[in-house]
Symmetry: C2
Subunit: 246 residues, 2 copies
């Protein structure tokens, strides 16, 4: 199977019942015996940065569950433009919508660094869903949450300028990847290229370069390649309040 690595532990060697991110996943709706069924069925796969987990248009053979690392959810429009719709982290389930609707993948998922993903095949999920209707309700909740996330993004696009949208993305990334210095400053190594960052806020990469330049000249952040240093994160947040429209 593509993506399988020599170090992959393969089937049945991971226990979902002791998975530390279980409480974040939809599977936590299952009782212990069902979790054993799940553990026996999952296939653990490791991905390197840039590797595709699945691609738009592919048929969907099961559900992916992120155990470690980070995944970018991408979509291409009819003209080949790539837009990064969102980021997924350990505990997030991928491909559940198209799987449960028996449709092809509507987005692409791509590892943004060393990533470990558990794959659960169609037959196992069908069995679990039939025995435990609560699992289906959890996935419905998840879909609802995804709608709300997309609506929030639409509202940000409609009401904020590019600069504010970028700061929002930056704060989100800091929340997930940032480290705190002794003086309270934050440091990150961005997991995304400038182009992907630009596509997330809906602008061109040249424009993003200029926004970054302005943030640097104002002392709000220092960028060096993918490394970012934010001396005072509250200054960034206050900048958002003062820059509501454009």
């Amino acid at each position: 199977m593509e993506g399988m690595r020599p170090g992959c532990t393969g089937q049945g060697t991971v226990s979902c019942s002791i998975c530390h991110i279980l409480t974040r996943t939809e599977w936590s709706a299952l009782p212990a015996p069902a979790l054993r069924t799940l553990s026996d069925a999952i296939v653990r796969r490791e991905f390197g940065a840039g590797e595709s987990v699945y691609a738009m248009g592919e048929s969907n053979r099961g559900i992916h569950c992120i155990s470690g690392g980070m995944v970018g959810i991408r979509k291409l429009d009819e003209h080949g433009n790539s837009v990064l719709l969102g980021l997924a982290y350990p505990g997030d389930t991928l491909g559940y919508r198209s799987f449960l609707c028996d449709e092809d993948h509507k987005t692409s998922a791509e590892a943004l660094g060393p990533t470990v993903i558990c794959f659960i095949d169609a037959a196992t999920i069908s069995r679990l869903l039939q025995l435990h209707p609560e699992l289906g309700r959890r996935f419905f909740r998840r879909a609802t949450h995804d709608v709300e996330k997309a609506h929030d993004a639409l509202i940000k696009n409609a009401t904020l300028c590019n600069r504010a949208r970028f700061i929002h993305v930056l704060l989100l990334l800091i929340k997930h990847h940032g480290e705190i210095d002794d003086d309270g400053a934050r440091r990150i190594d961005l997991p995304l290229s400038r182009r992907d960052l630009a596509s997330m806020i809906g602008t061109r990469h040249e424009t993003l370069s200029r926004i970054i330049g302005r943030l640097e000249s104002e002392g709000l952040a220092e960028f060096s390649g993918r490394h970012v240093h934010v001396p005072r994160i509250d200054a960034l947040m206050r900048d958002l309040d003062q820059r509501l429209p454009q």
Copy 2:
């Protein structure tokens, strides 16, 4: 009950099994006896233009199903900006997500003209869902479809300029409300204010005024208040192809 009109036929007088828009709704998953249960339970309500069907933050007591007319789905951000997220037409179900997740309404729904809406109370839905699991699957499909619609809107926002986004909205409205003249030209009475149209494409109403002005000076459309005349609709669509980025 607020919104009830003298002309409202009230409970049990509408048969869902003969509702002409039934094939479009999730309820078509139900067999005939369940449809009778549904018919007996629904409450038909009529709304005038601008009347609220439900508001953001209200508790959710059931599902609304549009029988006739048109509804705008609106959301307010934390600063009071109103954004029109989408339009709903006969056959569309409203408020199903927050209802099935047992949460408050996350959006507002507002009649954009004389509108007839059937309301199904919580107890009836719960009973139907329990007896007919397929109904739940239909709602899941609907949620998935809503995610994809929001993602498509995000991609349009990220890759198209305001002018192209407005033309997309205009074509959508023509599809639903347009009439065809003898010479093939289209006519519409827009169901939305300029401000709402602007919020849909994520810009200011002054900017929309200028975009409309340019479309008029190029002969692509004539605007007179809310009435629009599009002499050649294919010219509008061709304009989209030539104006991909900005």
